[in-house]
């Protein structure tokens, strides 16, 4: 089975006053249809930039400098601007973090959706609205016909995020990228949405990249997990592998930091130091300064170590379980 999304060696750089910043560094992963891939990492690790790079939505001063993004076997990076635009929304869709900001506040939900429908499918406005209504139904919005007439601010946060997801679903894309799609929502609403997303992936067979910094969310939602650190994917594997037997010291450190896994009141094992600034990364393994296992060898580029499909970028991977 070919992967719905296959990212190979994706590299994105930003030009800043401090010099070049490689926000996404040689990132590779693949997602099969119907599966959910969780992309986790701390703030600034390059998750969002990865998402935008896949869709070719990086603006100056940034630039995708290398790699390939294959969607159903087509390399998006080889396409002309116009062809790439036609792929967006139709083959690859994206959902953003803040549902208040991603919908145009002054346009009715229906109008926005109809616009998104008609850009890829020639149909009348009323047909487009009907299509949109169905999409809203799919994501579990009650009385969707009325919602189409509403303005975004008249909907609750959860409702808005559902609308955004429905818009992503309009053209039954092969790939959906969701960037922190539930971070801004309340826990109870987040629960509702996560349940629905799981169902969607199973039902529609779309490959979903779920970007989040919340390990708990990926561990309960995703089939596969990629852990990002300083622009690189440092560990990749199935959810069970990564959560149950992390092999990268960073992944281990992250999991150890979660209070839920420790007895209340005990001190948490902590990763020392702070998340690095991309413009000031050390030589070799970027995690070296915070890593308890680091040696001089870590000043060289870490190798990719793959075992049972669980890949890890480290000189001294943990043995796992």
């Amino acid at each position: 089975m070919t992967a719905a999304l296959d990212v190979k060696g994706l590299t994105t750089r930003f030009e800043t006053r401090a010099g070049h910043v490689t926000a996404v560094n040689d990132v590779s992963f693949a997602v099969q249809p119907g599966r959910i891939m969780g992309l986790v990492g701390e703030s600034g690790s390059g998750k969002s930039v990865t998402g935008f790079s896949i869709l070719g939505l990086i603006d100056a001063p940034g630039e995708v400098t290398a790699g390939a993004v294959l969607v159903d076997g087509v390399d998006l990076r080889q396409l002309s601007t116009e062809d790439l635009r036609k792929m967006r929304g139709r083959k690859v869709a994206m959902v953003f973090q803040d549902p208040m900001m991603t919908l145009n506040p002054v346009l009715r939900v229906g109008d926005q959706m109809a616009m998104a429908v008609r850009v890829h499918q020639a149909m009348s406005k009323s047909d487009a609205l009907e299509h949109a209504r169905k999409a809203l139904e799919v994501v579990g919005i009650p009385s969707p016909a009325e919602r189409l007439k509403a303005y975004p601010h008249q909907l609750s946060g959860g409702m808005r995020q559902r609308v955004a997801i429905a818009m992503a679903l309009l053209h039954s894309p092969s790939v959906i990228i969701a960037d922190e799609a539930t971070t801004a929502l309340d826990v109870s609403i987040q629960g509702q949405i996560l349940a629905e997303v799981r169902e969607l992936a199973d039902k529609t067979g779309a490959a979903i990249v779920w970007i989040t910094h919340d390990l708990a969310v990926v561990s309960s939602l995703a089939d596969d997990i990629c852990v990002m650190y300083a622009g690189r994917i440092v560990e990749r594997g199935t959810a069970e592998q990564v959560i149950g037997g992390p092999r990268h010291p960073y992944t281990q450190g992250l999991l150890d930091s979660i209070p839920a896994l420790h007895e209340p009141g005990r001190k948490l094992p902590q990763i020392p130091g702070s998340t690095p600034q991309l413009s000031r990364l050390p030589e070799g393994c970027p995690f070296r300064p915070r890593c308890p296992r680091a040696t001089d060898l870590c000043c060289t580029e870490p190798p990719l170590d793959v075992r049972d499909g669980q890949a890890v970028l480290c000189h001294y991977p943990l043995e796992g379980v």
């Binding site: 701390e42 703030s43 609750s156 959860g158 409702m159 309340d186 826990v187 109870s188 609403i189 987040q190 629960g191 509702q192 996560l194 349940a195 799981r198 910094h213 919340d214 390990l215 708990a216 969310v217 561990s219 309960s220 939602l221 995703a222 089939d223 959810a239 959560i243 149950g244 450190g253 992250l254 999991l255 150890d256 930091s257 979660i258 209070p259 839920a260 896994l261 420790h262 209340p264 009141g265 001190k267 948490l268 094992p269 902590q270 990763i271 020392p272 702070s274 998340t275």
Partner: protein, 340 residues
């Protein structure tokens, strides 16, 4: 339980937007122009013992921060009182705060907004104590250095501006600023919510160390149940401005009594529990401007009965040290009003 150091007695807080003169005049003709009231807190009573850390949990808009602000004396309660060591610190006297205190200090959520971006860290730490004469003027510098070291920063950082620090470091500074006032009670309003997990662990550890060393009393506001469980002795669950359950952390987590608490636990993803086991609470959070009658949770509650729609449940004992506000715990849900 030892004697409570902080006592919150049936505190309510309403925010009212009063219409202007023109609106009121216009309202005479059209019937509009009436004040809009947000019921941010309704009849909240709590006691906190010395050395205790009380967790406050609830969804967005349920009044957690408002409670913290009332305790810190930033808002005057609309009714009820807050006493510290038996002395009122926030009281409602004609709508103004009767006495302010340095005894309660607050730590805010966003470390990027909670420090004055144009004031050196040292100055930020020093100005409160200096103004209130907590430290003699000639000792301020040493004290600032000591504070910085106490929260794990280099003393030399005193001359830097906040933007030169990372989020975790800033949160340490915020903690140091609160400690500088030598408070009796700390209020941490989502103090770790905006930090990355690895940094969050550092700050939690710092908090626990300080608590251990200084015997801090604290209100720990959060929506993250696992963090709360980790650092708190007791936990209060709030829903739409009301306290719905209050219990020691271990008991609450082992056996949540209120349907809302239970639903909350069920809908929160946790690491290691495996994939896709959510029992999400259905429905939306109601508006605090027009809270539902009776039990505020009844529209979303799977157990709601007719009584829940009309009668506000009282906090009742559900064990030796825990209380819950639910009719299920207080005689069942289907009784008619008037029986209570």
């Amino acid at each position: 339980m030892t004697d409570p150091i902080l006592k919150i007695d049936t505190v309510s807080k309403r925010f009212t937007r009063r219409p202007g003169l023109a609106e009121r005049l216009a309202g005479k003709f059209t019937g509009g122009g009436k004040p809009v009231t947000v019921h941010a807190l309704t009849d909240v009573s709590l006691e906190v013992a010395k050395g205790e850390v009380l967790g406050i949990v609830g969804e967005s808009g349920c009044g957690k921060s408002t409670l913290g602000r009332v305790i810190a004396g930033i808002h005057a309660p609309t009714s009820g009182s807050v006493t510290l060591n038996g002395q009122p610190i926030a009281d409602q006297r004609g709508g103004t705060i009767h006495k302010r205190t340095t005894q309660v200090q607050m730590i805010h959520q966003d470390p990027f907004a909670s420090l004055n971006p144009r004031m050196k860290v040292g100055e930020t730490l020093a100005e409160g104590p200096r103004y209130h004469g907590i430290i003699p003027a000639d000792q301020v510098r040493t004290r600032v250095r000591a504070l910085l070291e106490q929260v794990g920063l280099e003393a030399a950082y005193a001359d830097r501006l906040p933007h030169q620090f990372s989020g975790g470091q800033r949160q340490r500074i915020a903690i140091a600023r609160a400690l500088a006032m030598q408070p009796e009670v700390l209020v941490l309003d989502e103090a770790v919510a905006s930090l990355d997990v690895s940094i969050q662990a550092q700050v939690l550890n710092l908090f626990m160390d300080l608590r251990h060393d200084l015997g801090l009393t604290a209100l720990f506001i959060s929506h993250d149940l696992s963090v709360v469980r980790h650092v708190c002795d007791r936990v209060a669950i709030m829903y739409l401005g009301r306290l719905v359950e209050l219990a020691p952390a271990d008991q609450l987590y082992a056996d949540p009594r209120h349907p809302y608490t239970r639903a909350l636990f069920a809908s929160i993803p946790t690491v290691g529990t495996g994939r896709g086991r959510f029992e999400a609470i259905k429905g939306e959070i109601p508006s605090p401007i027009a809270p539902p009658p009776g039990c505020a949770f009844h529209p979303r509650c799977p157990f709601a009965g007719s009584r829940c729609r009309t009668e506000v449940p009282r906090l009742t004992a559900a064990g030796p040290v825990r209380t819950v506000a639910c009719h299920l715990n207080d005689g069942g849900v289907d009784m008619q009003k008037g029986a209570a």
